[in-house]
Amino acid sequence: MQEHIQLTQKEVNRDLLEGVLGLPKWWLGATSFLVLVILIGLAAYAYEVNKGIGVAGLGRPVLWGAYITNFVFWIGISHAGIMISAILRLTQAEWRRPVTRAAEVMTIFSLIAALSNIMFHVGRPWRLFWVYPYDFSRGIFMNVRSPFVWDPSAVMTYLIGSSLFVFVALIPDLAVVRDRATGKYAPRIYSILCLGWRGTPRQWRLQAIAGILLSALVLPVFVSVHSIVSWDFAIAIGVEGWHSTIFAPYFIIGAIHSGVSAVAMIMALVVWLWKMDNYLRPDHFDAIGRLLIIVATTWFFFFFVEWIFALYTLEPPEIKLRELQVFENPYWWLFLIFLLTSFFIPVPMWLFKNVRRSPMLMFLTTVLVNIGMWLERFLIIIPGLARRTPLTFDWGSYHPSIIEILIVAETFAFVALGMLIFAKFFPLIPLFDVKEGMVFRDTIKIGRRIVPASIRETP
């Protein structure tokens, strides 16, 4: 099924290392713009630290806002990497090969972005480390019943796991770069980084084993992370619309939805920015498009079920909450945008082959999805906190302040900048993986299924 473009290994190296050894014209402009956005965001945060969290738009009863929304969003995005690499690797989906690294790297940076949101959110960030058992002399341990203790452990585990994952996959390519890098320091640094990789069969074998093991090990974390994040809300009996048993799977599939969409975006960008159309072929987009149809539809099913659960109770506060989400300003139009962008526009489009095969259209639709998925989190968190409870005296609302908006923007710039800088120093498309793909390219047809002719590498 994959289109064949025969390239020599030399060509592959040249193409894929161009971004590292050379410097695309647009690179500096893009980075400096992103750095500017980040600086503005950091200044806004400095202002918040100095003046107090009061500079955010929060108040009674809506005490969580844009930061937590953004936290959940980035955790969601982070699920792309493992989804693509681990799952597709274990399920031997060939088209994954050129995409894996970009996805994994995005995972790492979005996780960092997510964690930073917690720092932005709390009232006394300089005490944030108290959620860790850092100091028994205080005579107190942190409260292991609190999701805010589960979160950091889960996310950190995930961050460490996926970092290893990236690094292991990077080693052979680092060696290639080492061999080609010029200058005084670069070769030395790369030679240290690639841990003396020489490409001996034993090294290949170990690297492959590590890769497969890590895939298997990271998977449970991948599931647990977003379950736990969902429990930040699901265990809160005090908030109407949060206390729902379906949240864990609902959040995970939502995360995959936004994550995989984000990967599709990255793919399009890679094609345009680094001219990788030899490696990311329309049928790669086609494949991820198919995957997205499944993911999106499953997600929508959960979304639907969650609403049914809620409405089925017929509790006045629950009904009032849903009315708020769907009918009251500003939520009604946010809700409309959310529905259209996260499902009703993209999914029907993906049904068409020529949409799936067009990087431009895939890019646009997946951008829509991520706008929608950000709003989804917003619409879960804020209206619930607006407290449509019998105590109408305390009903409230929320508008993010300019400070919050700047800081949220900063997180997006941060992830983008991270990707750019990474791409400058390491190949964004894994050389060895692509080459390996070429080796296995010869395929035979069995019934209607097409499988590689050669045997997989196995320990």
């Binding site: 410097l23 500096l28 980075t31 400096s32 750095v35 980040i38 600086l39 950091l42 200044a43 945060y45 400095a46 202002y47 630290v49 100095n50 009674r60 009863p61 006394r124 300089w126 205080r138 005579g139 107190i140 006045p316 009251e328 019998p390 105590l391 109408t392 005296f393 305390d394 009903w395 409230g396 609302s397």
Partner: protein
């Protein structure tokens, strides 16, 4: 290329880190200290505290309080359990005495005006200098033999201070005028007329089965709210028979909100409604025959049958009958009125008719009814009286503008702020050569004064008080300093001084003969105590006078539960025929009211009072106008719209608060804001409602008919968020008939 890039990146990173670091240093350093994560002050011994008994002077009621003092600082105010009036309870306003004591803008020493009048520029001078200036002026005036052109204006003061002031003015030949923005003159006159009582009687709400109140927001701010609140608590006690409260009022006040039945009555028609209720009680044979006969001696009560007055009063005939029967059939029954009911051109008639109802059900000077108060325990120690009606202030303003007033001394009174613009008092004040203020915070009168002699806060000073109304027996409260004067460290010649002692010093300087039993105010009080000691009765018994004196100070006063009024219920004075109320021109009735926190305006200087939500609107910090929510809808007025309220005499602006409880023909606005000066918390916030009141008076008492103003309203188009504690509810929950629904979900108990 590479070089510049690297430079650029380091630069970027560096500056970012720098920004954070720099800002982080801006964090208050106490936050960077790592405090003990387990120990809190709550768990630690912080030294001993003492509770001293004294009197609360946050409002005219003057109740007994105890003040917690640690390390020479007052920390907390609570009710004095022993004190007969409030028996340990207190109001919101009471607590804020601490903020008056430690007010950041308290005047720290005597001031003399330097700039133009009204320019609000003063220079600090020594007490010596200040007092000699005052004495000099007084001397001058008496040399010209114009003593009567000196006016000493105070809040209504009684007991020993009342005596000192009376002796002073009479010895010098000056005039003493009392000032209350919302005066009680009419109430006192009514008491004299209906019950032949000089002192306001006590209301035995606790033991009443039915309470019928007219216009008086007695649970919130009227006369003795804490005492009435305490009575109300007992009255509501379901352990015994639970009483029924019927509140007749042109405004849905806090008392109305707590009533079992709130009955709207057209403004000024309270008296006619009362007559109609009397008619039903008499006609249905529920009344005490003799009382009925005496009352109806010179009027045809049947002219007030419910049907005939229903349309005028706005209360349906059936309702009137129901009220009458509720009232007469469930005794003891208590009827009283005041507030807006008394603040009409026919106020005295209203109150007379209302209070007379008590005769019909035998509730005069009997349990669960009106309880007469005895004479003061010591001769020559008066009960606080407001002896000056608004009409006299109006006259004074004219004299002032004719230059007939040489000097005004104000203490505890702010007439420049409180008198309606129609009186033109402020301008007239510019024609008074010498104005002296004893206030310890700036207020609108002090701001145009020539000399400011800041007095002690009541927590720093000696005083006594005869509660008015008293609890039904002789009571004399004693006020002692609970802390050293806050500004004492500034030395003998600066800081604040007690008002009475300043008067005494001045009298000495002018060698006026006051023949008071003491050199200092403290000695005078002690002499009063000695008289009580020698009388031998009462709450404090002691072997020696010293022991007695300490006992009195410890318990916050002296009282004698056996010393009650011996005057029996008089024969009811005949009722008079109805007097119709008169109003100024306008579309809406204007119902001024005192909000819980700032009351008549005294509380405006205190942040706690500004921030105390009004019970009904929960609004704070500003002036708002309560308007019927349907009227508001018709006129496209929504909460926060700035509304121009215009009477014949002026205009103010207030923020709209649409409410389902406001009568459609009425707008209600709180008094007490809009001070030109008054410290950082009061200055230039909200609007001064007094300024636009019509100068209508009660024709019999000369009291200001502050509920007789009508106004027009219009949107200015401006919008300001109305600060209030209730969060913004987009809409009142409505049922299918578009009526505001009952929020039974809250009742919770309904499921139980």
């Amino acid at each position: 290329m590479a070089l510049t890039r690297r430079q650029f990146l380091t630069l970027a990173g560096g500056s970012a880190a720098g920004a954070i670091l720099f800002q982080a240093c801006g964090v208050p350093e106490d936050e960077l200290l790592v405090q003990a994560p387990v120990e809190m002050p709550e768990d630690l011994v912080t030294g001993r505290d003492n509770w001293y008994a004294t009197l609360c002077r946050q409002c005219p009621t003057s109740e007994g309080i105890v003040v917690r003092v640690m390390e020479g600082r007052a920390k907390k105010v609570e009710g004095n359990v022993d004190y007969p009036i409030n028996q340990g309870k207190h109001s919101a306003r009471c607590e804020a005495g601490l903020q008056a004591l430690y007010h950041p803008d308290r005047i720290r020493g005597p001031l003399v005006r330097v700039g133009e009048r009204g320019a609000n520029r003063f220079r600090e001078i020594s007490w010596e200098d200040a007092i000699s200036r005052l004495s000099f002026q007084l001397q001058n005036i008496s040399d010209q033999g114009r003593q009567s052109s000196v006016v000493l204006a105070t809040d209504p003061i009684g007991a020993h201070l009342g005596m000192v002031v009376e002796r002073f003015v009479s010895a010098y030949g000056a005039r003493h005028m009392t000032y209350e923005p919302l005066e009680r003159t009419t109430l006192r006159t009514a008491m004299r007329q209906v019950f032949a009582q000089d002192a306001i009687p006590d209301l035995d709400i606790a033991n009443a089965a039915t309470v019928l109140s007219f216009g008086a927001d007695f649970l919130n701010t009227w006369v003795s709210p804490v005492r009435y609140g305490r009575g109300y608590g007992a009255f509501r006690d379901t352990e015994n028979e639970r009483g029924t409260l019927i509140h007749v009022d042109s405004r849905f006040s806090m008392s109305g909100a707590n009533a079992d039945k709130w009955v709207y009555v057209n403004p000024g028609m309270e008296g006619i409604l009362a007559l109609s209720i009397a008619q039903v009680i008499i006609a249905d044979g529920l009344a005490d025959a003799d009382a009925a006969a005496a009352l109806t001696a010179n009027l045809d009560i049947n002219a007030y049958a419910p049907e005939t007055v229903a349309s005028r009063t706005g209360v349906s005939a059936d309702k009137i009958r129901a009220i009458a029967h509720d009232f007469a059939e469930h005794q003891p029954a208590l009827a009283f009125g005041g507030g807006s009911a008394a603040a009409h051109t026919n106020g005295l008639f209203n109150l007379a008719a209302i209070y007379s109802l008590n005769y019909l059900v035998g509730s005069v000077n009997s349990e669960g009814g009106i309880i007469f108060n005895p004479a003061p325990p010591i001769d020559g120690i008066p009960v606080a009286k407001s002896n000056t009606a608004f009409s006299e202030w109006h006259r004074l303003a004219d004299e002032m503008s004719r230059g007939e007033v040489q000097m005004i001394m104000v203490r505890g009174a702010d007439p420049v702020y409180g008198l309606p613009d129609a009186v033109n008092f402020e301008n007239a004040a510019y024609d008074v050569p010498f104005i002296v203020s004893f206030s310890d915070v700036m207020d609108d009168t002090t701001a145009i004064a020539d000399l400011v002699l800041p007095q002690h806060n009541y927590l720093e000073d000696w005083d006594s008080d005869i509660p008015d109304p008293a609890p039904g027996y002789q009571t004399l409260g004693f006020q002692q300093p609970v802390v050293r004067p806050f500004h004492e460290p500034r030395g003998e010649n600066l800081g604040t001084r007690g008002f009475a002692d300043v008067l005494l010093t001045v009298a000495q300087g002018l060698d006026l003969e006051l023949d008071l039993p003491g050199e200092t105010y403290r000695e005078i009080l002690q002499d009063g105590a000695r008289q009580l000691y020698e009388s031998g009765g009462g709450s404090v018994r002691a072997a020696s006078f010293n022991a007695f004196w300490n006992g009195v100070l410890q318990r916050g006063g002296w009282w004698d539960t056996s010393a009650r009024s011996n005057s029996a219920a008089p024969t009811p004075p005949p009722l008079l025929d109805a007097a119709e109320p008169a109003f100024s021109a306008g579309e809406f009735h204007l119902m001024p009211f005192e909000s819980t926190g700032i009351g008549d305006g005294k509380g405006a200087a205190l942040p706690w009072m500004q921030a105390t939500p009004d019970p009904l609107s929960t609004a704070v910090w500003r002036t708002w106008v309560e308007i019927n929510h349907r009227v508001a809808e018709e006129r496209g007025i929504s909460e926060g719209d700035v509304i121009r309220i215009e009477s014949q005499y002026g205009r103010i602006e207030a923020l709209a608060f649409p409410s389902p409880a406001v009568p459609p023909n009425t707008v209600c606005v709180p008094v007490g804001q809009g001070h030109a000066s008054g410290g950082r918390y009061a200055e230039r916030r909200g609007a001064n409602l007094y300024s636009i009141l019509s100068p209508n008076i009660d024709l019999n008492t000369g009291a200001l008919a502050w509920a007789s103003t009508k106004v027009n309203i219009e949107k200015t188009g401006e919008w300001i968020r109305l600060p209030k504690f209730e969060n913004t509810v987009t809409e009142f929950p409505r049922d299918e008939h578009q009526h505001v629904i009952k929020l039974t979900a809250l009742g919770g108990g309904d499921e139980h």
